[in-house]
């Protein structure tokens, strides 16, 4: 097989740097203008990064553990997005310095007066939280490092044992991932309202993050394929598989989100319902209905037919749409918990600054990885089968 590596256009890194600098500058300004709002927005941005990075890591493990062939030619795209995972340890630091702003349970005087928070204190306390955060990010980084090191090594050595090794690693990673992503979602998103609890919350966040990672991968794959950076023998059938997986996870998200809502709605217990009532107050009701439409109905209708799952235009549109939808989802989860916005949403430019930085970081990281590595895992023993894939 002959594969000539083509470098990505240099303007990607330029645009990435500009977006990142603009995003950081506006973000720093936001911290001085409205400190609380900026911290909450940063929390959303950070969880968005977790979603893409760890979601991509899960997709890598999924490919190995189920023995998929079709996704081998695009595995590098997934790996490049997973490269965000090591950055999480740095990105998390500003949040750790602003925990008082985010979490009621980090105030000792509040916890003293609150019986519920007292009973949760053995888990929700600052030292244990910080330990958990770094242990979880450490585990993810470790797996990222092993997965990509083996994959990269295979490009030159063509050693089949590396695939076997990665399959074993993936089988270990999947249950570890299930626990860590649940804990991460509970720590960062659910504990913003420490009185509320939902046992399905980890799965909810997992569904959203896989959609996000898949959408990022789908968008990049379609763009790279259209501009001839990927292998020419890749067909629409590969795109169809991506579209079908997207469709499946959109359904999965809808299923989980509805399950969470319906059980709480039906049981009607005040200690659970107040969380949804908060999200129905004032203009938040529009956000709640909007979430159903944006995250479920539109992608569902757009992807339901067979031709649309392999249509590059539809896929590009719906990928961008879903990338936005998860941001919207996180916004809906976190923002009504901010005290100033508990009655309803009011607009501020701060909400727009952090997504700019997210796009900038993603472009930079992707470009940096693409510069140093092949865009196709040329040493993978399953590559030819992956390229020959037909429906």
């Amino acid at each position: 097989m002959t594969y000539q590596k083509k470098d990505l256009p240099s303007k990607i890194s330029k645009i990435g740097i500009i977006l990142l600098i603009v995003g950081i500058a506006l973000g720093v300004l936001a911290f001085f203008v409205d400190h609380s709002r900026a911290v909450f927005n940063y929390l959303i941005a950070f969880n968005y990064m977790i979603s893409i990075g760890v979601g991509a890591l899960f997709l890598i493990a999924l490919e190995y553990v189920v023995g998929a062939d079709w996704s081998v030619p695009i595995r590098r795209v997934v790996e490049f997005f997973a490269a965000i995972v090591p950055l999480l340890a740095i990105l998390v630091i500003p949040l750790l310095f602003n925990m008082q702003e985010l979490f009621h349970w980090s105030h000792t005087d509040v916890v003293m007066e609150d019986a519920v928070l007292q009973s949760k204190a053995p888990y929700l306390n600052v030292p244990f939280f910080i330990i958990r955060v770094f242990v979880i990010i450490g585990i993810w980084t470790l797996f990222y490092f092993f997965f990509t090191r083996n994959s990269k090594k295979q490009d030159t050595t063509k050693n089949q044992k590396l695939t076997t090794l990665n399959i074993r690693l993936s089988a270990v990673f999947i249950p570890v991932f299930a626990i860590t992503i649940s804990l991460s979602a509970i720590d960062w998103l659910m504990s913003v309202e420490p009185h509320w609890f939902s046992t399905i919350f980890g799965v909810y966040f997992f569904a959203g993050s896989v959609i996000t990672a898949l959408a990022a991968v789908t968008l990049t794959t379609v763009l790279l394929k259209e501009n001839g950076y990927l292998h020419p023998s890749m067909t629409d059938d590969h795109l169809y598989s991506l579209g079908a997986l997207l469709f499946a996870f959109v359904n999965f998200w809808g299923y989980i989100a509805f399950s969470q809502f319906m059980l709480i709605w039906y049981a009607d217990l005040p200690e659970e319902t107040f969380w949804f009532i908060q999200k129905w107050e004032g203009s938040w009701a529009i956000f709640s209905i909007g979430l159903i439409i944006i995250q479920f109905l539109v992608p569902y209708i757009a992807l339901v037919s067979q031709p649309s799952k392999m249509n590059p235009k539809t896929l590009k549109f719906i990928s961008v749409w879903l990338l936005f939808a998860h941001l919207f989802d996180l916004f809906w989860l976190v923002m009504p918990e901010m005290e100033q916005m508990s009655g309803g949403y009011y607009f501020s430019w701060i909400d727009l600054t952090f997504p700019i930085a997210i796009v900038g970081i993603l472009m930079l990281v992707f470009n940096m990885k693409a510069k140093n590595e092949n865009l196709i895992p040329i040493g993978d023993p399953k590559l030819q089968r992956g390229l020959d894939f037909h429906l």
Partner: protein, 380 residues
Amino acid sequence: MADKKIFGIVSLFKDPNAIISAAKKVASAGFTNWDVNSPYPLHGIDKAMKIKPSKLGIVTLIFGLSGVVLALLLMWWTMSVDYPMVIGGKPYFSLPAFIPVTFEITVILATVSTVVAMFAFFFGLPRNAHALHDTDYMKKVSLDHYGIVIEAIDPKFDEKSTMDLLNNLSPLTTEIIYYPEKETYPIFEPRFLALLFGVAVAVSLGTYLMLNKLMYIQPFNWMDKQAKITVQSRSDFFNDGRGMRLPVEGTVARGFIPYPFEDQKNPTEVLSNPSFPTIENLELGKSKFLTYCSPCHGNFGDGDSRLQGQFPNPPTLHSDRARSFPDGMIYHIITVGQNAMPSYASQVNREERWAIVNYIRALQRAKNAQDSDIKFVKAE
């Protein structure tokens, strides 16, 4: 052999790549009634055969959508129109509670209709005989060969040219397949029906024995067997052994005033009528009178009902004696009964009894009308 009807021409190939390139050539030759047989699904054969995407999805869509509509209509009608019930303090039409049912109905209608449509319209089943059955060709393509069959009903079919076309594809063998002499087989053959019946009985019986006798293990029984006394069961806790306890003597149910003259045959004093004969009250009395009283007393209280002769006839309600009863006395008779008449206390409640009394008063007035009453009628 000449009088045999040709079904089609078949070719065998040994290699999946050969069959795909052969299929491409046959498709580009413009044939429509032809097929490829292989022991397993071949990737890329759809494109090689130029098969258009199946229309089966439309069936799924139509039935799925009708599932949504039907399920919602059913629940809307039963739960909020025909028999409204408050469940869990939710509104009559509460969409979140209906979504799981709607989802299930949608899925089952869509899947079942898809399978049925696939068998009935796309596969043309039931069809219990096919010319390719019992041929050497079919045995081979079920095992390790790949075959192409071009049917004789194809408009482009010509025995010689089609044969040449297939031979040019360098197959292993090419042969003509004829229809079997007996072309059709009845579906409802007695032996087949007997087999179906036997299978049905065996499966039902086997399932029943398996699940209910052999494998019936209760994971826990603390819901099935609870330490409580159920309705009409015995209790050794009490001396009389009755599980269901009687209320303490003199207990009065909420909102219920006991009738004070229950034990007296000829009460010296009776209740006075608390209800006023409005039109609604008389309508109620009429309806209850016609239901409970008229079978014996007759529609107008003359004692001339359709039960005459079969049952001791009650006297007319228009006698002087009956007319001189106070309202409370008629109420008393309805409540405790008189002579052969039983108590109607359990059938008509207190309000309805007074309404009946008022209605009987109206009947009595009408049956013994005086000239002076006409003035009132004319005045209206």
